[in-house]
């Protein structure tokens, strides 16, 4: 009798909770009014004589920067299993293209690129980690897509690496097209755009296949190495990177097919436009620095004798662009001095001298036929 009542009670509490979860109108209401819309804060140059009322910052505006400054360190969600992008070395230090972006952001905020703490997140964990505030920014070969930009509660900052999905097979298989994989098994990682694209492409081309789905890159590629699947698929950058850590890289080829567009870039939470701006203009600073030919080696000279007014504004000699972002005026100077420009970051991690060499291709400046193009600094 007693036990029955307890069970019943537990059931009631659960039901009450669930009903509350579906029925409560409060979150919906406040959701409608919470100004999380991409409100553009227009800062107009106003003559000092007639001060216009400042636009009221939306709720959440500035919260992240304040939190980060108070904490004294930036928390960045990165990959730990993809050499060249986000990888944790034997000594516990992180390195990679996405990791260096975090360092650039820390340099912009603190003037010190080491004030950053890295959290390794898997594909499946990353959005929850960002949503829940466990990390301030996600920089982990993450593809920009509609659902992620909306329902997943984040905003993509800018594409830092233009990529596409590829397919890797053992050379011995002799497969060169997707059709050669008819009836085969393909290893793929869960929680990625990769598993969705795979289903899309194979359905569109009418190729039957069996997916073998794993939790993280290590187990996906371990299964591939064991021959659990005939092929493995992910972003081409991921394939190039993971091939370097396979037992015998020469025995695997990446097919000459591109299954999707994968624009990879950092992501921040909805609701804090200031933080979004800081994250975005950090990317633009890296790109513009390359465009202006400013490197970590010559940035001091460039600041002493700026080649153009825009360089002067970028490096904080003229105007107060940094202050408008809520940072110090030498924010971009610090990024370039401590981390380098886009090309330096790229070459350090993915350049010809690294094991994970990827030709720049689309990731060249627009002036070199690529897609990198930053808005003007003014």
């Amino acid at each position: 009798m007693n036990r029955k009542t307890t069970t019943l009670f537990a059931l009631m509490v659960v039901i009450a909770l669930v009903l509350g979860a579906c029925g409560s109108p409060t979150p919906a209401d406040s959701g409608d009014t919470a100004p999380i819309v991409e409100t553009v804060v227009v800062t107009v140059e106003v003559p000092a004589a007639a001060p216009a009322p400042l636009p009221v910052p939306p709720a959440g505006y500035g919260v992240t920067l304040a939190t980060v400054l108070e904490r004294g360190v930036l928390i960045c969600g990165v990959n730990s299993q993809v050499p060249g992008f986000g990888y944790i070395g034997a000594d516990g230090s992180f390195s990679g293209f996405d990791v260096d972006y975090c360092r650039a952001l820390a340099a912009a905020i603190f003037g010190d690129s080491t004030k950053v703490e890295f959290r390794a997140v898997t594909a499946a964990e990353r959005f929850t980690a960002l949503q829940s505030g466990e990390i301030d920014v996600l920089s982990r070969n993450t593809t920009w897509s509609t659902v992620r930009d909306t329902e997943l509660g984040g905003n993509f900052v800018h594409t830092t690496f233009y990529d596409g999905q590829g397919m890797m097979v053992p050379t011995s298989l002799g497969a060169t097209t997707l059709a050669d994989l008819e009836g085969g098994t393909i290893c793929v990682q869960t929680g990625t755009t990769t598993e969705l694209n795979l289903a899309d492409v194979m359905a569109a081309e009418g190729i039957s296949y069996t997916p073998a789905v794993f939790e993280d890159a290590d187990s996906t590629f371990a299964a591939y190495a064991e021959g659990r699947c005939d092929a493995v698929t992910t972003d081409k950058s991921g394939l190039i990177s993971r091939r370097t850590v396979l037992a015998n890289p020469a025995e695997h080829v990446i097919m000459d097919v591109t299954m999707s567009k994968e624009p990879l870039g950092p992501m921040v939470r909805h609701g804090d436009d200031q933080w979004f701006d800081i994250a975005q203009w950090t990317v633009f600073a890296l790109i513009s620095a390359e465009e202006f030919g400013i490197t970590s080696a010559n940035v001091a000279d460039a600041k002493a004798a700026p080649a153009s007014p825009e360089v002067s504004r970028l490096l904080g000699n003229e105007g107060d662009l940094g202050l408008k972002l809520g940072l110090s005026n030498d924010w971009a100077y610090n990024i370039i001095a401590q981390v380098g420009n886009y090309a330096e970051v790229y070459n350090r991690n993915l350049g010809p001298d690294t094991p994970t060499y990827i030709p720049r291709g689309l990731n060249s400046l627009y002036t070199d036929g690529g897609l990198l193009y930053a808005p003007p600094f003014r």
Binding site: K4, V18, A21, T128, G153, E182, G183, E215, S219
Partner: protein, 393 residues
């Protein structure tokens, strides 16, 4: 009834133990609800700041991903809800398979622990000790990477007698393909089951009346097998045709495939849980006092009869409650499937969570499902305990 008692009537309200107990209960409930509300509103506020709203309607959206092992029809255009069901059924499948085999193995282990043979006794004790000190997760990964993925590739598959193909794509058995008479045959099977139940019931009643105990189960099964066999040969064409596996390009086609993921999870769970079931069985048997056995012998029952009529019925009363909780453990442990890539409830829910971004909803759904498993188990246990009480008189 007690209201007329003048003694209780005098106790003031604030010292009446029954009332105080109730007040404590209510205070406790209010506290719980207060904290639940606190947690919930905190979460709702956080979500609304990011512009997300709670609700389950997203489950009707298209999943967009494929799942390799499904017991129901599923493709990338199926809904999230169907994906969830795929996971649920896969969990049930691996749990049921695990429960059946771990029970068989567990009973053997339990009896072996009480064997008069020293080696047998020592081996089963050693087995228990090993399992107790092993992490199940590590054990599963060992079975996956260390055993099933170490099998040869498709082209060099090992073929066991009976056309059983073993490769790192799984174990493929010949399997019955239904023909046009299959549905008729299913009706015949139903009749067979009903007849077997009827025979069982009649025998059971007779047993009660005469005091003799016929082998009810054996007879029932015999009736079932007889009708099933007769039906098979009576039909113009056999209802099922054996389909043999064969290598077809990159895969092994035909037959029934048990994937390495399923095999690793099922073997790991079975072998692990069997050790604990063995302990439960040993304790159950030992709980039956020696006097019972001696008495059974004294009235002339032989060894088998003693086991069947005296020891088992009594041991079962001790065994069933802890056994049920072992079954529940096995079911909950099957959520480690994610480590070996088997598409169980937890794994699929995790994928849905990631693709849809609905963390709160999915976690709630998963918790409710596992809670339902637990509640069903305890309902069964309560029912069983009550039945035993009746039998004891």
């Amino acid at each position: 009834m007690a209201t007329t008692n003048p003694q209780t009537a005098k106790i003031p309200v604030w010292r009446d133990e029954r009332i105080l107990k109730w007040i404590a209960q209510i205070a406790f409930t209010v506290t719980i609800i207060f904290f639940a509300e606190l947690i919930f509103s905190n979460m709702a506020e956080g979500l609304s700041q990011q512009g997300t709203k709670l609700g389950f309607s997203f489950l009707q959206g298209a999943a967009g991903f494929d799942i390799a092992e499904t017991l129901i029809e599923f493709s990338r255009s199926s809904t999230y809800w169907q994906a969830f069901l795929v996971g649920l059924y896969n969990t049930l499948l691996v749990s049921i398979v695990g429960i059946i085999f771990s029970t068989i193995l567990g009973v053997i282990l339990g009896v072996a622990r009480l064997s008069t043979n020293l080696l047998v006794r020592w081996l089963s004790a050693a087995y228990l000790e090993l399992m107790r000190n092993l992490s199940l997760l590590v054990f599963l990964i060992f079975w996956y990477l260390g055993v099933f993925l170490k099998l040869p590739r498709v082209k060099e598959a090992i073929i066991w007698p009976g056309e059983i193909y073993l490769s790192n794509r799984g174990i493929v058995f010949p399997w019955g393909l239904p023909t046009e008479t299959a549905s008729t045959y299913r009706t015949i099977l139903l009749v067979a089951v009903l007849a077997a139940a009827g025979v069982g019931f009649v025998l059971h009643q007779r047993g009660k009346r005469t005091g003799k105990s016929p082998l009810t189960l054996l007879w029932s099964f015999g009736v079932f097998a007889l009708i099933a066999l007769a039906g098979w040969f009576f039909l113009p064409t056999a209802p099922y045709m054996l389909e043999f596996p064969y290598v077809d390009g990159l895969r092994i086609a035909g037959g029934k495939t048990f994937t390495p993921e399923f095999m690793a999870l099922a073997s790991g769970l079975t072998l692990y849980t069997a050790a604990f079931i063995g302990e439960v069985v040993r304790a159950g048997i030992q709980a039956v006092s020696r006097g019972q056995v001696e008495a059974a012998r004294a009235i002339g029952l032989n060894g088998f009869q003693t086991l069947r009529l005296v020891i088992f019925p009594q041991a079962l009363q001790v065994i069933v409650p802890p056994l049920t909780s072992q079954y529940l453990n096995l079911t909950k442990n099957s959520s480690l499937a994610i480590a070996v890539g088997y598409a169980d409830l937890f794994y699929v829910s995790n994928t849905i969570l990631n693709q849809s971004g609905r963390a709160v909803e999915m976690i709630t759904l998963v918790m409710l499902t596992y809670l339902t498993f637990s509640l069903l188990t305890s309902l069964f246990m309560n029912w069983y305990n009550q039945r035993i009480l009746l039998v004891e008189r």
